[in-house]
C-alpha cells in the first residue's frame, strides 16, 4: 500500500504505471480537442444542410415554364363587330383563343373533363398576355402567330422534374394523359424554361405560377423606412442623453435597466403591444406598413440604443475636453464632435437592428399583416405584407409549386440580409477608428 502511494507520487517517472497514465491523459486530451472540433463542425454542417435544402429547392423558382402555342387572333372571338374599339378589345374573351389553340393542337380531346384538364396546361394568366399583345398591336387580329404563354403550375412542376413520373397514377397530381400531352408538346419543342420575371414584378397570387414577391418587397421597404425614420433618431437621441447628459440618478438608472430588459422581450409581445395600442386605441389602419413599422421600431429601438451607446462611449474623452476647452457648450461638444465621430458605429448598429427587423415575422402576424394581398401597396396606409410573412404564407400553401416559390423568396430575403450586413461590415472597416 505504502509502496504504491510512493510510486504515484512521482518518485519514478519511468515506471510503467506512470507511462500508462500519461498516455491515457494524452489520449483524453486529443479526444477532448476532437469533441470541440466536432461540435463546431456539427454546427457548420447544420448550417450547410439548411442552406443547401433551401437553395436546392429554391433556385428553380427563378425560371418558369412557358408553352408555345400557335394562337389565331380570330376576329370572331375578340372583335365580333370588327370595330377595333379598344374598350371592346379589352373586355373580349381571350381565354377562348388559348382554348382554341389547344383544341387545334390536340383535336382528339373532346370530353368535357379532358378538355378542362387540357386547358389547365396553360395558366389563366395567358389571357392577359394576349390582351396586352392585342392592345399593343391591333393588327394582330386575324393573324396566327406562335406565342409563348405561361404554363400552369402542374406543367411547371413536371418540367422542373418535381413530379415523379414513375409513381402510381393515383398518387400523382398530374395524370397520365396530361403527361402524354406534355410529351407531345416537348417533342415539338413547344416547352421552354425562361427567366421568371413575374417573380420579381408580380404581387401575391393564389396561382403559384403567377405569384411574385414584388408586393412583399415593397411592403418590406415601406415598413423598414418607417422603422428607420422612427427608431434611428429616437435611438440616437436616447443614447446621447444617457451617455453625455444624464446625471446619475434613480430615474436614469431605471431607463438603463429598462432598455436592457426590453432588448430581451420576445418579439411576439411587441406584436401584442402594437395590436393593443396602435390598432385598438389609436385606430390606425390594420395590415398597414405604418403600423408594422411603428411596432418594429419599438422592437429595434433597444438594439440601436445599445449599439449607439457603445459607439459614443468609444469616443475618447480628450475630444470632449478639447471642445469644452475651446468654449463649446456641452451640447455643441456632443452634436458637433462626439456624434459625427461615433456615427460609423451608430450606423453599423442601426443597420444590424434593421436587418433584424427585416427578418421579423411574429409581431407582424399580430397586427394583421398576414392577410392575402394581391396588390402591390401604393402607400404606407395600404394593406400590405412583408417578405418574411409572405414566406410564412407560402409555406402554408398546399400546392407543390409554392414550396419552390417559398425557397426562392427565402433566397431573395437572405440576399437582402447579406447585403445589409455586408454594408455594415464595410462601414465598420472603412470608418472605424482606433483611438
Amino acid at each position: 500500500m505504502t509502496e504504491q502511494t510512493q510510486d504515484t507520487a512521482g518518485s519514478n517517472w519511468n515506471s510503467e504505471k506512470f507511462t500508462k497514465g500519461l498516455a491515457k491523459r494524452k489520449r483524453a486530451e486529443v479526444r477532448f480537442r476532437r469533441i470541440g472540433l466536432l461540435a463546431i463542425l456539427t454546427a457548420l454542417t447544420l448550417l450547410a444542410i439548411l442552406l443547401f435544402s433551401i437553395f436546392s429547392k429554391g433556385y428553380t423558382a427563378f425560371v418558369q415554364t412557358y408553352v408555345t402555342l400557335d394562337i389565331t387572333f380570330s376576329e370572331e372571338v375578340i372583335d365580333r363587330n370588327g370595330t377595333r374599339d379598344p374598350e371592346e378589345l379589352r373586355l373580349a374573351n381571350y381565354a377562348k383563343l388559348v382554348q382554341n389553340a389547344l383544341r387545334a393542337k390536340f383535336p382528339e380531346v373532346t370530353s368535357r373533363r379532358d378538355l378542362r384538364a387540357l386547358f389547365s396546361l396553360v395558366s389563366n394568366d395567358a389571357a392577359d398576355t394576349l390582351r396586352d399583345m392585342v392592345a399593343d398591336d391591333p393588327d394582330l387580329i386575324g393573324r396566327t402567330v406562335p406565342v409563348s404563354l405561361l404554363a400552369g403550375d402542374d406543367v411547371d412542376m413536371v418540367t422542373k422534374g418535381y413530379i415523379d413520373r414513375a409513381a402510381v397514377e393515383d398518387d400523382r397530381r398530374v395524370k397520365d394523359r396530361e403527361l402524354a400531352w406534355l410529351d407531345i408538346l416537348e417533342a415539338d419543342g413547344d416547352i421552354s424554361l425562361r427567366f421568371n420575371r413575374g417573380f420579381f414584378t408580380n404581387g401575391d397570387s393564389r396561382e403559384p405560377e403567377k405569384a411574385g414577391i414584388a408586393g412583399a418587397m415593397v411592403g418590406s421597404l415601406y415598413t423598414l423606412v418607417i422603422t428607420m425614420l422612427i427608431a434611428f433618431p429616437i435611438g440616437v437621441m436616447t443614447a446621447i442623453y444617457l451617455e453625455e447628459f444624464a446625471p446619475r440618478n434613480r430615474f436614469n438608472d431605471l431607463i438603463e435597466v429598462n432598455i436592457n430588459n426590453l432588448a430581451a422581450v420576445p418579439s411576439i409581445v411587441f406584436g401584442l403591444l402594437g395590436l393593443a395600442i396602435f390598432l385598438n386605441v389609436a385606430h390606425l389602419p390594420r395590415s398597414a406598413p405604418l403600423v408594422g413599422g411603428l411596432t418594429l421600431a419599438l422592437m429595434t429601438l433597444p438594439t440601436i440604443i445599445i449599439a449607439a451607446r457603445a459607439a459614443i462611449r468609444a469616443v475618447p474623452d480628450s475630444i470632449r475636453h478639447a471642445a469644452l476647452g475651446l468654449g463649446a457648450s456641452k451640447q455643441q461638444a456632443a452634436f458637433h464632435h462626439i456624434l459625427p465621430l461615433s456615427m460609423p458605429g451608430i450606423l453599423t448598429g442601426t443597420i444590424i437592428g434593421l436587418s433584424q427587423a427585416l427578418g421579423e415575422t411574429a409581431p407582424l402576424l399580430m397586427i394583421g399583416m398576414v392577410a392575402f394581398i394581391a396588390d402591390i401597396p401604393g402607400s404606407i396606409n395600404d394593406p400590405a405584407t412583408v417578405m418574411p410573412v409572405q414566406i410564412f404564407l407560402w409555406a402554408d400553401s398546399p400546392e407543390r409549386a409554392f414550396v419552390e416559390k417559398t425557397s426562392g423568396a427565402i433566397m431573395v430575403l437572405l440576399g437582402f440580409l447579406i447585403l445589409m450586413n455586408a454594408l455594415a461590415i464595410f462601414l465598420r472597416r472603412k470608418f472605424e477608428r482606433r483611438w
Binding site: K26, E29, F32, L50, I268, V269, L272, P302, P388
Partner: protein
C-alpha cells in the same frame, strides 16, 4: 384647411421668421456689450422654435382630444375642425413669431433657450423606451384582467385541457371552451428542453474550442460563419423544420418502426436549438475569455493538460456566467414563435414524449389572434393572458441571468 396646407404655411412662417430673426440679430449683435455672443443662425433658430413649438403643442392637445372625443354635435365639431383649429394654430405661430422677433436684442440668451429645448427633446426620446414597457405591461394587464373575469384563474393555471374554441351560437352546448394552460406550458418546456440539449453542448464546446484551442485564423473564419446561424430569420428556420427536418425524422421513424409525427416536438426543438447555438457560443466565448490567464497558467504549472485545465479550472470558474448564458438562451427559446408556429402542432397535448406533436404558448397566441377578433371574447383575451405569463417569465429569467453574471464579474475585476 386640411393638414398638409397648414403644415406648409407653418413651415413657410418659420422660414420667414428664421430670415428676419438672423437679419435682426446681425444688427443687434454689433451693439452687444457681451464678449461672447450667439451666432446669427442661433437667433434664427430661436425664432423658429417660437414659431413652431406652440402650434405643435396645440396640435398634440388637439389630437389627444380627438382620441377621447368630447361630447359635441357633428356639425359643430366639423366647423371646429375646419375653421377654428387652423385659426388657433396659425395665431399661435404668428404670436410666437412676433413675440420672439420683438425680444431679439444684444443681451438675449438664445443658446440657453435652444439648448434647453434640445435637452427636453432628448429626455422625451429616452422616456419612450419606458413608455414602451409601461405600454406592454398595461395593455397585457388590462386584457388579462378582463380574461380572468370570464375564466377563473384556477382553471387557467391548473386546468389540464386547452380547447379555446368558444360556442358559435349562444345556445350551443359543450363548446364553451376550456382554458387550462398546463399543456401549453409543458409543451413549451419540452421543446425548450430539446432545444437546450442541442444548443448547450454544441455551443459550449464550440466556445471552448474557439477560445482554448483554435488558432487566430481559424477563429476569424469560423466565428462569423457561426454567427450566420444567428442572422437567419426565424421564419426560414420554421420552413426548414416543417419541410425538411420534420419529414426527415418521420422517415427515420418509419424506417425503424417507431411512429414519429411530422410535427413532432423533436423537429421543432432541434431546429430551435440550431438557431440558439451561436447565442450560447458567443456568450460563453466572452465568459471563458474573461477567466483570468493566471488561473490557466497556475493549472498548467501544476502539470495539467489543456483539457484538464478546461474541465477542472476554467469551467468551474466560468460556471456562473455560463449558467447566466444558458438562462438567457432559455428565455430566447421560450419566446421564439415562428419555428414552433410552422413546425409544431396546434392541438394541445399533455405529453412528455418528444416524438408526438405538442403546442406552445407562442403558437397559441398566434393561433388565437390571427384572423378576425372580437375583443370581448375569452378566446382573444386568453392570448393576452398567455402573453403576460410569457413576458413575466422571460423578464424573470433575464433578471436572474443578469444578476448571476454580474455577481460573477465582481469576483475577478
Amino acid at each position: 384647411m386640411s393638414f398638409y396646407p397648414l403644415l406648409i404655411v407653418l413651415l413657410l412662417m418659420s422660414a420667414v421668421g428664421y430670415w428676419f430673426g438672423s437679419k435682426k440679430a446681425l444688427g443687434a449683435v454689433r451693439k452687444s456689450t457681451n464678449f461672447i455672443t450667439p451666432r446669427p443662425h442661433q437667433f434664427g433658430l430661436y425664432v423658429v422654435i417660437w414659431a413652431l413649438v406652440p402650434p405643435i403643442l396645440l396640435g398634440a392637445i388637439w389630437i389627444l382630444m380627438q382620441v377621447t372625443p368630447l361630447q359635441m354635435e357633428v356639425g359643430l365639431s366639423q366647423q371646429v375642425n375646419r375653421v377654428l383649429f387652423p385659426v388657433i394654430v396659425l395665431l399661435a405661430a404668428g404670436g410666437g413669431l412676433y413675440f420672439s422677433l420683438q425680444k431679439i436684442g444684444p443681451d438675449l440668451k438664445v443658446r440657453k433657450t435652444i439648448e434647453g429645448l434640445v435637452y427636453i427633446v432628448l429626455i422625451l426620446a429616452s422616456i419612450i423606451s419606458i413608455l414602451t414597457t409601461i405600454g406592454i405591461v398595461l395593455s397585457l394587464l388590462f386584457e388579462t384582467i378582463q380574461f380572468f373575469k370570464k375564466v377563473p384563474m384556477s382553471e387557467f393555471f391548473f386546468g389540464l385541457t386547452w380547447s379555446p374554441q368558444t360556442a358559435l351560437r349562444a345556445d350551443q352546448v359543450g363548446s364553451s371552451g376550456a382554458f387550462g394552460s398546463i399543456p401549453l406550458f409543458t409543451g413549451t418546456l419540452l421543446i425548450t428542453c430539446i432545444a437546450m440539449c442541442v444548443a448547450v453542448p454544441l455551443g459550449l464546446l464550440s466556445a471552448i474550442y474557439m477560445t482554448e484551442y483554435a488558432s487566430q485564423r481559424f477563429r476569424s473564419v469560423v466565428k462569423p460563419m457561426l454567427e450566420i446561424l444567428a442572422g437567419i430569420p426565424t421564419v426560414v428556420y420554421g420552413f426548414f423544420a416543417a419541410l425538411t427536418v420534420g419529414v426527415f425524422f418521420r422517415d427515420i421513424g418509419d424506417a425503424i418502426g417507431i411512429d414519429i409525427v411530422s410535427e413532432s416536438a423533436l423537429a421543432a426543438g432541434v431546429v430551435m436549438g440550431m438557431m440558439i447555438i451561436p447565442f450560447v457560443s458567443s456568450l460563453s466565448d466572452d465568459i471563458i475569455m474573461a477567466v483570468p490567464q493566471s488561473l490557466r497558467d497556475g493549472s498548467y504549472g501544476l502539470g495539467a493538460t489543456k483539457s484538464e485545465t478546461v474541465r477542472n479550472v476554467i469551467l468551474p470558474a466560468a460556471l456562473p456566467g455560463i449558467v447566466g448564458a444558458v438562462l438567457l438562451a432559455v428565455s430566447r427559446a421560450i419566446g421564439e414563435t415562428m419555428i414552433v408556429v410552422m413546425a409544431a402542432g396546434f392541438a394541445a397535448n399533455l405529453t412528455a414524449n418528444p416524438l408526438e406533436a405538442v403546442t406552445t404558448v407562442t403558437v397559441q397566441i398566434v393561433g388565437l389572434l390571427v384572423g378576425d377578433q372580437e375583443f370581448d371574447s375569452a378566446k382573444t383575451l386568453a392570448a393576452f393572458a398567455l402573453a403576460l405569463v410569457l413576458f413575466i417569465v422571460t423578464l424573470c429569467l433575464n433578471v436572474i441571468a443578469l444578476l448571476v453574471v454580474r455577481k460573477y464579474r465582481e469576483k475577478y475585476d
